[in-house]
């Protein structure tokens, strides 16, 4: 495994399995965000004129969509680009961690979207361009995670995954625009999304965004650390096994090695 300066510094910073100071701070901030978002979204903000209470789902649906489709998969793309440039293990793990969280958020977007669709459109699935392209994107990144799970040489796997991480992000936009073009022919504007938000609703929406970015950051740090520990476990256990094997055979421990 090729490594960079980031790796050697990282091994000291991420030696322990428990949370770091940074994850605790971000985690507490995310918790505080959720604590305020819940009453804001469910109680204090007013129901919308057309959608009534269904609009409250938007305060979690839209932020999670933004975080998954742009932030999480964007970080994966960025990490992949940097990895291909300088084989930085840090960015390789970052790309993997971010994609996994993006997939979870993507699934959450689909569930909340369908729950919102039932009272608003009368059906769970309306072939709305956004939700349709989100579903394809979810499958796209499940493929990325499947490649990540392959039993391959770690460097080969990281390289292929990096290529896939970049090309998948481009595909995300190809899929998004092609589906929008396709649906645009049939039903015109998406129903009910161009809602006017003002006052407390707008604030709740913005608060939801901040909260979800914090949740993402918190999960990313933990998932990154988990990936790092996994890597350590694989490499050190291999080193230990080689050392043990060598110790078994006295003639192999000579100067020749």
């Amino acid at each position: 495994m090729s490594s960079t300066g980031t790796t050697t510094n990282g091994s000291r910073a991420f030696a322990g399995p428990t949370a770091s100071k940074a994850t605790r701070v971000v985690g507490l901030m995310a918790l505080a965000g959720i604590a305020l978002l819940l009453p804001l979204a469910l109680l204090w903000s007013p129901p919308e004129i057309d959608q009534a209470d269904a609009v409250r789902l938007f305060y979690v649906h839209v932020p999670s969509a933004t975080v998954a489709l742009y932030l999480a998969f964007g970080v994966t793309c960025l990490g992949s680009l940097i990895y291909l440039r300088n084989q930085s293990v840090f960015w390789d793990l970052m790309a993997h961690a971010s994609a996994e969280i993006g997939v979870v958020f993507c699934g959450f977007v689909l569930i909340t979207g369908m729950l919102w669709g039932r009272p608003t459109w009368g059906v769970y699935w309306e072939w709305d361009p956004r939700i349709t392209s989100t579903a394809i994107t979810l499958i796209l990144y499940l493929g990325y995670l499947a490649l990540r799970r392959m039993d391959l040489d770690p460097t080969v796997r990281s390289k292929r995954a990096a290529f896939l991480g970049i090309i998948s992000f481009c595909n995300l936009f190809i899929i998004k625009y092609s589906v929008e073009w396709w649906r645009g022919l049939h039903q015109g504007q998406t129903i009910g999304i161009d809602t006017q938000l003002d006052g407390l609703m707008l604030f709740t929406f913005a608060w939801g965004m901040v909260t979800f970015v914090l949740i993402f950051a918190w999960l990313l740090m933990h998932r990154f650390r988990l990936g790092w520990l996994e890597l350590q476990a694989t490499t050190t256990s291999l080193d230990d096994a080689i050392a043990a094997r060598r110790a078994e055979s006295p003639q192999l421990t000579g100067e020749g090695l």
Binding site: A146, L147, D151, I174, S178, V179, W181
Partner: protein
């Protein structure tokens, strides 16, 4: 590497893959019957007896109405087999390394393999299209404009499938789970191709021909994009296959 050796190497690999097909006849004797069977299964899944009204007093079976999408679904599924075969012949005998050791331009290997898949898919696709017209009673009012649009759509969509499919097959080359991983990777990527080809073919068969050409343009851009990505990236994809 110079452009001439890129095309020369592409021609070598292209000829090699077609010669393998000529002697083994896997696409002809396995992929083509599979594609035709899919067409028959569509008839079972979507009853030919359900009819939708068209115009003032006419009607058309639902099966005929959805023919454009079905043709490209059958091609898409068949392409998974053709792509599996294209890299199966290399991976099973470890010849991908041999191709590299022979000093071939990686971009040329990509173009050669993608072009061989393209030719095979075009053959399967043409027969599937004819079969669909035979089986589904589409009642198309043929004009030259409609025929040209349909043939161009078939060419552009197949080029997109072959080029993107070849890249993703290379990505999964050498893996034991290649057969299941490639469909998962490639189908979401090809979803826009199915969309575009379905819309263009729908315009060619039943709609206004002019509505189909923008979709053909989008299909061509998709194919060119992936041909470019393939030429540029095949070097690093093959390096560790």
């Amino acid at each position: 590497m110079s452009g001439s050796s890129l095309l020369g190497d592409a021609l070598l690999v292209f000829g090699k893959d077609l010669r393998i097909e000529r002697s083994s006849k896997v696409v002809l004797s396995q992929v083509l019957p599979f594609a035709l069977m899919i067409l028959i299964l569509f008839g079972f899944g979507i009853s030919p007896d359900i009819r939708v009204p068209i115009g003032a007093d006419g009607s058309r079976s639902v099966l005929a109405q959805v023919t454009p999408g079905l043709i490209f679904l059958a091609i898409l599924f068949s392409s998974l087999l053709a792509l599996g075969r294209s890299f199966g012949v290399e991976a099973d005998d470890g010849t991908l390394d041999a191709l590299r050791l022979a000093g071939l331009d990686p971009g040329g290997i990509f173009i050669g393999k993608a072009a061989a898949v393209l030719v095979q898919l075009l053959s399967v696709g043409s027969i599937v299209t004819l079969g669909a017209f035979l089986l589904f009673d589409t009642g198309v009012d043929w004009t030259w404009g409609r025929a040209v649009l349909l043939v161009t759509t078939l060419g552009a969509a197949t080029a997109g499938i072959a080029s993107a499919g070849t890249i993703y097959s290379a990505l999964a080359a050498g893996l034991r789970v290649r057969d299941t991983l490639v469909p998962l990777l490639v189908i979401p990527v090809l979803a826009p191709v199915l969309l575009g080809a379905g819309q263009a073919a729908d315009a060619a068969l039943f709609g206004a021909v002019a509505d189909g050409w923008p979709w053909v343009g989008a299909l061509a851009i998709f194919a060119l994009l992936y041909i470019g990505v393939g030429i540029l990236s095949f070097d690093s994809l093959l390096e560790d296959a």
